[in-house]
Structure formats: structure tokens, C-alpha cells
Point group: C2
Chain length 405, copies 2
């Protein structure tokens, strides 16, 4: 999913182009906890010490950077003052999914500072009602951040569907029943004082990026992320960047056809991975019927049945793993990816999914995806909100000049 | 498939970096038959007329460009001398496939000047024997080019398998039975006097590029090319460039799993598109058994049976179209491509494949791939050789300085 730069980054300011570049350059050489000195920065950027000193002054003014004490006092020469990204700056991440809402704050060091996940029944609900409930959760999170002295720079909202981030519109989210839902006004009001605004994203794309920044992804570099929720989504990361494809919506692994004689899918097609490996599909195969309870409650019942060794439950999950393997193989062949990260219920059910998935990969494409290139997310229901917040953090770090007068 | 620049482009010469760039810039503004004047080139490149004049002199010296007479005599001012790419320069293209060898010469105007396609039975044959036979065909083609005064700048050899072009090695070509076949020495001897050498490529990637340069591809911009031969290959073109993927071998649509209960594939997996839509699979389903004749002869028998309305033959081809649709849908979902170009036997059998393919696309992903975004190649068995030659032409046009003393 493409994300635009956020309106604020385009604002004219007192800073010229070269200085803008140099501000971002210097900021980029200051890690979360690197405690770089001005001298270190001059050496790593090739800028003069005088320039670095002046640029650092401006970065201190933006609040993105803080002086954090002396460093390497044991070395020769005068110890410098250490600089690091300020952990009291952060961004809001939020997710609307079919059966839950999630919000949280990620700081510039990558830590999840506050978060809240609330069960919800959002299928078929009007976007306005869902956003109103989300706003209450966001309000609590923003208050908690303010109480702790954390300033929010911007935010991101992830939804399980195709989005146009530049317009703030959900083009299509079949599992919510949304089509052309314009959230632009709601996004503007979510964190009104945040200079970098709130940007819409696809849930699986955001979760894929969360893996890259805060999970298994950095070690893999290029991988397919598969998001297991009521729907099955996906995101492609190649060379440590999200791959959007020519139309901007690549990675829809949930709608790869894995069972040509399969059943109708929410997308209008049939035999898609989602129809055999989405939460409702697994619950149905496991014989865990609705009975008025939420999907989350039934997923907990599934987990209990699995732990009790229930044959039907185990067979349902193994079947999902089998078909998941087919979709991963097809992605590996088409895109030449050799690693996969599994999130959502695929991660929660890893104990039972993993053997069936590995057997499927061996059977359908021996050697294409090695067993040690199959990773399970540890981010749980916070994956998408972390990715959405992380993208907002990156927008801010790429445009520090937007925070100057 | 990545292609290296060809050793010759790296050679030190008398030309500095800026001049190298400007030579390529000026050359790029001279189309195949544009009859650009030096004044046109100065206007379009922003270089001074004196610079253009000097650069054009050097380009004339390379032989890539020729003066082709006066242009636009009716306009105001002194008519300029027209410049165009010299159609007497070209590159060799060659293809080794399972049941044929093909060679040809493509000139700088994109015309296929000479070509020869010879039936062969290459499955399980040693690379040395195949290359020896190919060399005889190439020899005839090179002689024909020399007789016609066409100078060859370089060449390309396409094979149905995964290749490492930088080393000239076929990593794996299951339908030929080749593994780690080092063709570097053979490539060097194929057109020994060609300054840009001969580069190895994947057959489907080359055919995909041939569509871009000489077929339907330019109008589509981004598309999946599917190559129907004994094996089924594929190439991905995005934004008018070949997409190689993180590992360099993207586009293997022949090994997308379309039938989870399907049979063993040459790749070691099972249920791959190739097992239901490759030539041997269609012939078997149509009941056209070997009987000692070549695949090409049996494909001709299939064509005759289809034209006679043979129900088993029609059903076999429709089945292939059905599964082809499934693989195209999976590619469209994963990569967000909305167009496809079909080559090889898929093009030859278009009359019968097309309705089944369109029905499959409608059924498995309504709206994802429109019927007018399904194109059938018109390049036949010359597609891959044209692409391989075209890539060599582009290597030469990108590095004209390599032709200067």
C-alpha cells in the first residue's frame, strides 16, 4: 500500500532544500539509543562539525532528538554529549478489524508504550459507528500518552481492505461490508494536534512492516507476510520495503486460489485461501458453530479443543495449514520469495499449523521455502497498529524540518 | 532474470564518464526511423549544437547511427541531415527449447531479418550436443547476416530454465534435464566477433520482453507473460521493465499450484500449472499419445482434432484454459497485475483456450482481469529469440562508447 508523505511535510517553512536534506541526514545517523556525539555524526555524514552543530541545534528544537548525557568517557579527548531519538515522542497506531479494535502508541525507540485491544462486532456496521467507538479508545490512549509526557507526532489507521491513503478512503473491505468509505474527516480528527496527521493503510501491509521494524522481518529482508484474521490478508516485503505492485494492492494472498472446487469467497471469487484458512472457515471445519458468541470466543474454544486433542479441531487446523502451504508456494514461485512470516491466528495456532504447513511446502515445492524460513509473528493483535504507528514515526523522521517554525 | 552489462561495456576507452552519458543520451533521442536532425537532438537533449555535432560524429563512427537523407524540406530554414539507427546493425537471438531450436537476427529497427526454427528432441540430451547443433544454425544465420551486410553487435541465448547470466550457467532446466550446465565457453564462441558478447536468459523472460518491445506489451505496460511450451514458463513485466524478484527468478507461473490433488511435476512439486496445461499434459488429456512422433507433430495432430470438433481434444484444451485462469488469478492477486499475454501453444490454441480462460477468470476473480486485458502473442516460436536479441540490442545502445577505439 502506498502511503503519502502526510500534508505537513509539504508545508513551506524556514528551511531550504539542502538544509532539509542535511537535517534528515543527521537525524538518520542518530539511532534510537546510539548516543552519537556531534563528532561521530560529522564523521559518519561527512558534514563539517560546525554544520552538524547547527543542524543538531535545530533537531533539538524539533523535539525528535534529546541530549542524553556523556558517552565513552574512557576514551581519549573530551567526552561529547550523547544524542539519541527522544523516547518521549511517538505516534498513534490503530486498527479496525472484523472482530476487534486496537490502538496503541509506539515511541521513537520502537517501544509500544500504551495499547488497548477491544473485542467488537464490526461486520456490517456503518463506518461512522465503528470510527466513533475507535475514537473513544484513541482518546484514552492519547490521554495516557499525555499523562506520561509523550507527544504524538502523527498516526496510522489500518483496516482489513484495499485503501487509497492519499484520499483517506477504504475502497473495499468485504469482511466489514465497507465499500468506498471516506474516512478522511475522521482521520483528521483522530489526533488533531499531531503535525504529521493520521494515514490510512491496509492491515496486512502494516503488520508486514511491523515485522520488518519490530519483529522477524529485519533478519529475513524479503518475505511474504500472511495475516490470519476473519479474512486472510498479506503483505510483500522485498529488500526491506513494502512492495505495492503496479496497481498498489499487491500481496492479496488470501485470494490466491488454492482449491479449484472450493466454495464462494467474500471477494466474489471462489476457492480462495480465505475460504479454507480464515477464522470462520477453520471454526466451521472444526465444528465450532456460532451459538451467539464472538469469533474471538470461538477461537478460544478452538484453542481449548486443540489442547484437549480434539480430532476434528486438529484436522481443521491441519487442513488450513495444508492450503496455506499451497498459497505460500504459489507466491514463492511467482515472486521468488523464499521466506514467510505468519501472523494473526496462524501464529496463535502455530503448534498445530506448523507441521501441516511444512509438509505442504515440502510436497508442493521441495526446496523453495526452507523450514527455517517460516517464521511466526510474536506481535499478536498489536502487529497492524505497530506498523501503522511505525509508518507515522518514519514520516516524521524523514521530514524533521516540518516541525520547525 | 537479471542480465549483466556484457563485458565489453566495462572496457576502458578513450571516452570519459560525462561523454559516455551524453553519447547514450543523444543515441536515445535517435529512434529507429525518426530521422532526427542534429538541431532536433540539441532541442530534445538540451545539449549545445556543437556538442551534439561532435557526439553525432562519434556515433556515426560506432556504426549504430546512419545519415539517411534530408528531412522536412518543406519547413522554414536549411533542411538538416536526418539521422536514424542503422538497420544494418543487429543482434543474434537464439533459443534452446525442449523440442526445437530457434535462431534469428533482429536489427536496430526491431525487424527480424533472418530466422530459422528447427525441430529437435533435446530432452535429456547433453548440453554440449545441443549447443553443437545450435552452433550450426547460428553459423548459417551469421553467414546470411554477413551476406546481407548486417553487422552483429551481440546476442542472447534463451533456455527454458533458471539461469545465472553473469556466469553463463543454466542452474536448472528440468524439462531438458540440465542442472548447473556451464555454457559460458559456448556463449563466447557463438558470435565471437560481436563486441557485446552473448548473454544467457530465461526463455519466458525473453519472450515477455519481446512482447514489450515488439508485441502487445507496450500498450499494456504491466503484465504477466505466460509461455506455453512442453514446460510452462512466465515473465513479469511491471512499468515496462522485467521484474526479477528478490532471488532473480520471479514469474514461475508454470509452478503455481492449481490442482492440490494433482500429479507430480518436473520441478519435484505437484499440481503445478505445467502438469495440467503444458503440451504433454494437454496431449495426454486429449488422448494423442506419443507413437514415436515429436511433440510438435502431436501438437499439429491436436490442432487438427480441435478443428474437426473432437470432443476429447476440446475438453483437454478447455481444461488447460480453466487451470491457466486459476494461475493468472493467483498472480493478479499477489502482484496486483491486471493484464496477461499468452504465448507458445496458448497462443496457437487461442480459439479454444480463450473462452475457457475467460470463464475461469470470471469465476475465480470477477473483475480482477478484464477480458480485453487478455492478449495472445503473435510472435510464435520467435518470441524468445527476439527478446534475447532485443536485450543485446539494448546493451549496445546503452553503451555506444564501447564501440569507440
Amino acid at each position: 500500500m502506498r502511503e503519502h508523505d502526510g500534508g505537513a511535510t509539504m508545508a513551506p517553512g524556514r528551511v531550504g532544500d539542502v538544509r532539509r536534506r542535511n537535517l534528515a541526514l543527521v537525524l538518520g545517523s542518530i539511532g534510537p539509543e546510539s548516543l552519537a556525539t556531534r563528532a561521530d555524526i560529522a564523521a559518519s555524514t561527512g558534514l563539517t562539525k560546525a554544520s552538524v552543530s547547527s543542524l543538531v541545534s535545530e533537531l533539538l528544537e524539533t523535539g525528535l532528538v534529546a541530549e542524553v548525557g556523556l558517552t565513552r568517557a574512557g576514551e581519549r579527548g573530551r567526552p561529547g554529549v550523547g544524542l539519541a531519538l527522544d523516547a518521549q515522542r511517538g505516534a498513534l497506531g490503530a486498527e479496525v478489524n472484523v472482530d476487534y479494535l486496537a490502538v496503541g502508541v509506539v515511541d521513537l525507540h520502537g517501544a509500544l508504550r500504551f495499547h488497548e485491544v477491544a473485542e467488537a462486532v464490526n461486520r456490517g456496521r456503518e463506518p461512522e459507528a465503528v470510527v466513533a467507538e475507535l475514537s473513544r479508545l484513541v482518546g484514552r490512549c492519547v490521554s495516557a500518552a499525555a499523562d506520561a509526557g509523550v507527544t504524538l507526532l502523527g498516526g496510522g489507521l489500518a483496516v482489513p481492505g484495499l485503501v487509497d491513503p492519499s484520499r483517506g478512503v477504504v475502497l473495499s473491505a468485504p469482511n466489514l461490508g465497507w465499500r468506498d468509505a471516506d474516512l478522511s474527516a475522521a482521520l483528521a480528527e483522530l489526533v488533531p494536534e499531531a503535525p504529521f496527521g493520521v494515514v490510512l493503510s491496509n492491515e496486512a501491509d502494516s503488520a508486514a512492516l511491523a515485522e520488518l521494524w519490530y519483529g522477524h522481518g529485519a533478519a529475513l529482508g524479503s518475505y511474504l507476510y500472511v495475516s490470519g484474521e476473519v479474512g486472510v490478508g498479506g503483505g510483500l516485503v522485498m529488500g526491506s520495503e513494502l512492495f505495492a505492485g503496479p496497481g498498489g494492492h499487491a500481496g492479496e494472498v488470501g485470494h490466491v486460489v488454492v482449491e479449484p472446487t472450493g466454495s464462494q469467497c467474500s471477494c466474489g471469487g471462489r476457492g480462495c485461501l480465505e475460504t479454507v484458512a480464515g477464522q470462520e472457515a477453520i471454526l466451521a471445519a472444526a465444528g465450532i458453530t456460532n451459538g451467539g458468541s464472538t469469533t474471538a470466543a470461538r477461537m478460544a474454544a478452538l484453542q481449548a479443543a486443540l489442547e484437549a486433542g480434539d480430532a476434528q479441531a486438529i484436522s481443521a487446523v491441519e487442513r488450513a495449514g495444508h492450503y496455506l502451504g499451497i498459497a505460500v508456494v504459489s507466491a514463492a514461485r511467482l515472486i521468488d520469495l523464499s521466506a514467510v512470516v505468519l501472523g494473526g491466528h496462524f501464529a496463535a495456532l502455530a503448534t498445530w499449523i506448523r507441521p501441516a504447513l511444512l509438509a505442504s511446502l515440502r510436497s508442493f515445492a521441495p526446496g523453495a521455502v526452507a523450514s527455517d524460513a517460516v517464521a511466526f509473528s510474536e506481535l499478536g493483535t498489536t502487529a497492524a497498529l505497530r506498523g501503522a504507528a511505525g509508518a507515522a514515526v518514519r514520516r516524521a523522521l524523514a521530514a524533521p524540518y516540518a516541525l520547525l517554525g
